[in-house]
């Protein structure tokens, strides 16, 4: 029997071979009192696609041992801290809590310190024996976090880099801002690329329609998913389906109900990713305003293009004219153009295209497709909308539901509304 641990045991255990556990890299974020430092460190985590297991502020009121216990329970692969020059010591207590909580963990977590070089170096030194590294720029930290993920993980890496590359390419080719939305089994990415090559990325892990389905529900609540289902189902029955789906990562939806569930999960996963992006101070408004929205992953793999379209429109809520394209067999096909408007009373939309001219009156709450092909000139009377777009296979989707999209609370009103929206674009097999 070992009685007590001795002065050396808690902080000076021999290091073991550092292999990461399977699955996403788990991170704990340490930040100063100010919201902007939390945003900065969260931005790095979201850009790198690591799972944020806990976020602790220097002003946290809990006791030192409680903080250490939380860190131990989080079992992080990496602890990410951000320090300011003037307040270098602010995180010292949290780093001591990391030592107490995680020094005996196998493998030991890494401590990544960002911010002022001198303060970061001091903090990293204090963390011994936990290996500390400092980073001059956020980009260096993101690269190191991604390398950490790849080094030992045998599971396929999230499509973060692939998604960012696709976003850059499309933005460069289209010459305009492009949002790529990729929903996977365990990761949801929203990447805004500008023609000059600048990237704003959110890789929310583990949120998705497969192994991350249960986390979508745990983070947002089951009713956030249930509200998107166009058929009645009680919350307990839905929860069972979500949990089974989560433990069956490669499952294929064979029934329309299962497909509707995956569509609902995808909507909520994207919405959560955008919320995370907003919490990190990222340009979510710019994402919603992107003139091109490209869909990838499971979101693009729904059998009907209309299914990908309605999920993307409900979740992203484009704020301006947006061309929706989706990935099919390695290339992108244009699905439709979304025309969001919120007329004071009603508006008249006029389309000029090769086939002639089409005119349609739009009332508030309207949601329908206008068939169109090729290059289309669009004007609207009674709403601020004008442009020339390349219509996709489904034509033009007029979305006058307003922003944010408001769903009735009661099932008796919500389900017919959802059924009408789905029917308007033929999004569900009958």
């Amino acid at each position: 029997m070992t009685v007590s641990t001795g002065p050396r045991a808690s902080v000076e255990l021999g290091q073991t071979a550092r292999t990461l556990s399977r699955g996403p890299v788990g991170a704990v974020l340490l930040h100063a009192r100010e919201g902007r430092t939390r945003e900065a460190v969260l931005r790095v985590a979201l850009a790198a696609g690591v799972e944020v297991r806990s976020s602790i502020a220097a002003a946290d009121g809990r006791s030192f041992v409680d903080l250490a216990q939380q860190l131990r329970d989080a079992h992080p692969d990496v602890v990410i801290a951000r320090v300011d020059r003037a307040k270098g010591d602010e995180l010292a207590t949290l780093v001591e809590a990391v030592r107490l909580g995680c020094a005996a963990q196998r493998p030991m977590p890494h401590l990544f310190v960002l911010g002022d070089a001198r303060a970061a170096a001091t903090l990293a030194t204090r963390a011994a024996p936990i290996p500390g590294e400092t980073f001059a720029t956020d980009a260096d930290a993101v690269a190191a976090l991604r390398a950490l993920r790849r080094r030992d993980d045998e599971t396929p890496p999230p499509r973060a880099e692939e998604t960012e590359r696709a976003a850059r390419n499309i933005a460069s080719l289209a010459g305009t801002d492009t949002l790529v939305v990729d929903v996977g089994g365990m990761a949801t990415s929203c990447v805004l690329a500008r023609p000059a090559g600048e990237i704003v990325a959110v890789h929310a892990v583990p949120l998705g329609v497969g192994a991350g389905a249960d986390r979508v529900v745990a983070d947002g609540g089951i009713d956030r998913v249930r509200r998107w289902l166009p058929t009645p189902i009680d919350a307990p029955a839905l929860l069972e389906r979500v949990f089974n789906r989560a433990r069956w990562p490669d499952a294929v939806p064979t029934s329309p109900g299962a497909l509707a569930l995956e569509m609902a999960l995808a909507r909520e996963a994207i919405a959560r990713a955008l919320l995370d992006g907003a919490a990190a101070g990222l340009d979510v408004t710019g994402m919603r305003a992107a003139p091109v929205v490209a869909l990838g992953g499971r979101l693009a793999a729904f059998p009907r293009a209309a299914q990908s379209l309605i999920v993307a429109v409900d979740a992203v809520e484009p704020s301006g004219l947006a061309t929706i394209i989706r990935e099919r067999a390695g290339t992108y096909e244009t699905v439709a153009v979304v025309a969001p408007l919120w007329p004071r009373r009603s508006a008249v939309i006029r389309l000029r295209h090769a086939g002639g001219e089409t005119e349609q009156r739009v009332a508030r709450g309207g949601f329908f497709l206008m068939p169109a092909k090729g290059r289309v000139g669009l004007t609207a009377t009674g709403a601020n909308l004008r442009g020339t777009v390349e219509a996709g296979g489904l034509g033009l989707l007029v979305d006058a539901r307003g922003r944010p999209v408001d769903l009735p609370q009661r099932d008796a009103e919500r389900i017919p509304t959802l059924a009408r929206w789905h029917a308007a674009v033929s999004a569900l097999p009958v």
């Binding site: 249960d214 029955a237 299962a258």
Partner: protein, 340 residues
């Protein structure tokens, strides 16, 4: 293969504040205490090196008690000098929790005691502040997800057939301390009643996810949730909702009833301590398939053939199997012991 007689390793995470733990190589039995300690009360930070007038790095050398030790009020924690000595004493009864890089000490009174018990018969193969791992041979059955703390007790049957639901009416205090085997489902009422009757743990094909949330909180996920608090222990072997147990899984559970057993929550495993030749339990279990609406999981009957690419009601096209007149996507079929 669902059941396996093998040498397993079970890691038992220790909370902060460990006072005693078993040494490497010590033989233990399931249920033995392998770690004990105390949770901390109000933590105070004591100026150590600064008070003694020494460098922070020297404090560890001058400590009179080791970090982690429990001391009584007034105990000299560190002392320096000879004729004009400077000392640092314990302000209350409590424990020396941590030595900081600055040379300060965190000290806390003990608020409550905790113990961690082994879930395997075997020997300690790792012992440190964070974890005690025990390795030993046992009959083992890997489940899908476990909720609650580890549990140790005698295995007992709570249902007559693998397709039955464990009824709350079958649970009473006479079953206290046992690990009870349910069939296809354990409802939340049965879980809470079992806990009230001091039943050590429950094992079944599935439990309703909503019921688990009622018992363990809304933050739980399908991956399980190993806890240390006083809550029931539930091991789901197959899925969520309803999932009848295959005969190859249920028959050994019935045959091993009366044996000592343990649920290791963090790895979602059931260990049963019976001789290797206790029975012909190591049989291949049938594959499992997920229901079309994801609402249940069931064992797949034998006699299947590939059906090539099939188009389903959802309009999804996927590789499929034909089994008893039913076409199932290959992706929705998984071996019982697949890593998930």
């Amino acid at each position: 293969m669902a059941w396996r007689y093998a040498r397993w390793t079970a890691e038992h995470a220790l909370p902060i504040g460990v006072a005693e733990r078993r040494d490497l190589g010590t033989r233990v039995r399931a249920g033995d205490v392998i770690g004990a300690g105390a949770t901390a009360g109000n933590v105070v930070r004591l100026a150590g090196a600064r008070r003694l007038g020494i460098a922070a790095a020297d404090l560890a050398r001058l400590l009179r008690v080791s970090v982690g030790s429990e001391v009584v009020r007034g105990t000299v924690l560190a002392r320096t000098g000879r004729r004009f000595a400077r000392t640092l004493s314990a302000p209350t009864d409590g424990r020396l929790m941590h030595l900081t890089a600055d040379g300060d000490l965190y000290f806390a009174p003990a608020a409550a005691r905790w113990i961690v018990r082994s879930t395997l018969d075997g020997e300690v193969v790792r012992s440190d502040d964070a974890c005690v791992a025990v390795a030993g041979a046992a009959w083992g059955l890997s489940g899908l997800a476990a909720y609650g703390p580890d549990a140790v007790g005698e295995l007992a049957l709570g249902v007559d057939a693998p397709t039955d639901e464990l009824q709350p009416s079958r649970l009473d205090v006479r079953l206290g301390g046992r690990i009870l085997v349910g069939g296809a489902r354990i409802a939340a009422e049965a879980i809470t009643r079992a806990h009230a009757c001091a039943i050590a743990g429950l094992v079944a094909g599935a439990a309703p996810a909503a019921g688990l949330r009622v018992v363990y909180g809304n933050a739980i996920t399908a991956a399980g949730s190993a806890t240390r608090d006083d809550s029931p222990t539930v091991l789901c072997l197959v899925g969520f909702g309803t999932a009848p147990l295959p005969r190859e899984v249920f028959a050994p559970l019935a045959a091993l009833a009366g044996s000592r057993a343990a649920i290791h929550a963090s790895s979602a495993r059931l260990f049963v301590f019976a001789p290797a030749d206790a029975g012909d339990f190591a049989q291949d279990a049938p594959d499992l398939t997920l229901a079309g609406d994801y609402g249940a999981v069931r064992p797949l009957a034998n006699g299947r053939a590939t059906a090539g690419e099939a188009r389903f009601a959802s309009e999804v096209t996927a590789e499929a199997l034909r089994c008893g007149g039913e076409v199932i996507p290959t992706a929705n079929v998984m071996p019982f012991d697949a890593e998930r």
